[in-house]
Symmetry: C2
DNA sequence: AAAAATCTTGTCAACTTGTTCAAATCTGCT
DNA sequence: AGCAGATTTGAACAAGTTGACAAGATTTTT
């Protein structure tokens, strides 16, 4: 069979890349495939791309994909293993920063920024823009496979964010916090999906490529939503 | 060839179903296929389902799909032609209602409701829940095909909504209106996608199946976002 | 230098994909 | 009853799918 297949040593490759710990021969091929896959998956989705197209784009024989990643699913997972840590770590760092802020209003904004800015930044970093699209697709897909991947890679940090929100907004019911959180994720993910609709409908006034402007607007809107968006009635049953 | 292929007479079938105007023989088959397709496309996306799976679920031979809809794409389009008018009309009706409201604050809320409530309602109407998922997928997909379909069926009403928003919030720059609009769409579409993540992360406290509660929370949050979410600085270039 | 592990390559088989075809059946109309 | 058009059917098609293999090339270790 294959000596080291599956999604084995991806952490070493990306995680501590600086300390050159035995870069093997196949690593160049790995990253070539990984990048092509990222682009194509981002554009057409998991089912919309064949391994052959990826291999062709990467300029390698098809068999190499199976050798290095143990199949199409393994390749897909490898993309998440490569990219996710960066966002998650950035978010956690942002949350730690928010904890230090005494002013409750500023604190709330910092939490929102911790959630949003890493992703916006990711999207606008040349090489990673496709991953943002992949993430957008996956986040809003109801399939079992998507749930597993998102759950594994992003649920932990999601819980941290909601906890921080509860602390920053102590007068809200958990229900309100969670709806607010998913409103934020939805808005963010939609803009990250990059359908071009924003540019189209705004006649070019709004441009997601403008990292600064996008973040400013999105944070302002979501900050207002969280700060002033109280739900009037406590949730008694049978109200119509 | 096929006498009447393509996506011909879908309006007659669904639109004015009451007045029985010549229900042809194949109409039952058509709707069987249409419904199965809706479910499967909603669950796995366009590329995630094969025509054979759809035919199998509908209990008809594969060839009938091509006969009635002229191919897979035609079938997909037919779903939009069947479902879209209902939402679009509901939204337009909601917008007309909002125009009559004198109180600017209430007016803004009515506009938001006009955009959101029809879709939430659609999602929670037994038969149509899958279409909401299809719509969510398609709205946040960057592929050319998705752009075309969404553009054709939903851009017109989108422009009406943004126009109404500009009237209700005359002190905002167009830029702000458009970011706000896409924030709304994103939040809504994400919740409609129905990934189960909301239930999971909130430990069941939030349930998108509860139409009333979902609408209340979402409208409250977005209303606050639009009302208080001003962007501080005018967009001068080169700000860092 | 020899041996062992790793990496690359072209090809293959088993299977699924969307679509088409000719023949059969059903339908309503004169 | 008979006919024309609409509908249904099962089979077939060409093209593309994934994953696997053995054999060769390369690198690393002994």
């Amino acid at each position: 069979m294959s000596p080291r297949a599956r999604t084995a040593r991806t952490k070493e490759d990306q995680g501590h890349e600086a300390a050159g710990q035995a870069p093997r021969a196949g690593d160049l091929t790995r990253t070539k495939i990984l990048h092509s896959a990222e682009d194509l998956f981002g554009e057409h989705g998991f089912d919309g791309v064949s391994v052959r197209q990826i291999a062709l784009a990467a300029g390698v024989p098809v068999a190499l994909v199976n050798y290095h990643f143990g199949g199409k699913e393994g390749l897909y997972r490898a993309i998440f293993e490569m990219r996710s840590p960066a966002i998650v770590d950035d978010r956690l760092a942002g949350l730690r920063l928010a904890e230090l802020e005494p002013n409750p209003d500023r604190k709330l904004e910092l939490i929102i920024r911790a959630l949003i800015v890493p992703m916006i930044h990711l999207r606008n970093t040349e090489k990673n823009s496709s991953y943002a699209r992949i993430l957008a697709r996956e986040t809003s897909s109801p399939s079992r496979h998507s749930k597993e991947i998102i759950g594994e890679f992003f649920d932990p940090v999601a819980r941290k964010v909601t906890e921080a929100m509860m602390q920053a907004l102590p007068d809200r019911r958990p229900e309100e916090i969670h709806w607010a959180y998913h409103t934020m994720i939805g808005a963010m993910v939609f803009i990250m999906a990059d359908t071009g609709r924003i540019n189209r409908l705004s006649d070019g006034t709004c441009d997601p490529d403008d990292e600064m402007s996008t973040a400013t607007h999105l944070v302002a809107l979501l900050h207002a939503a969280l700060k002033h968006g109280r739900v009037p009635e406590p949730p008694r049953k049978g109200n119509l």
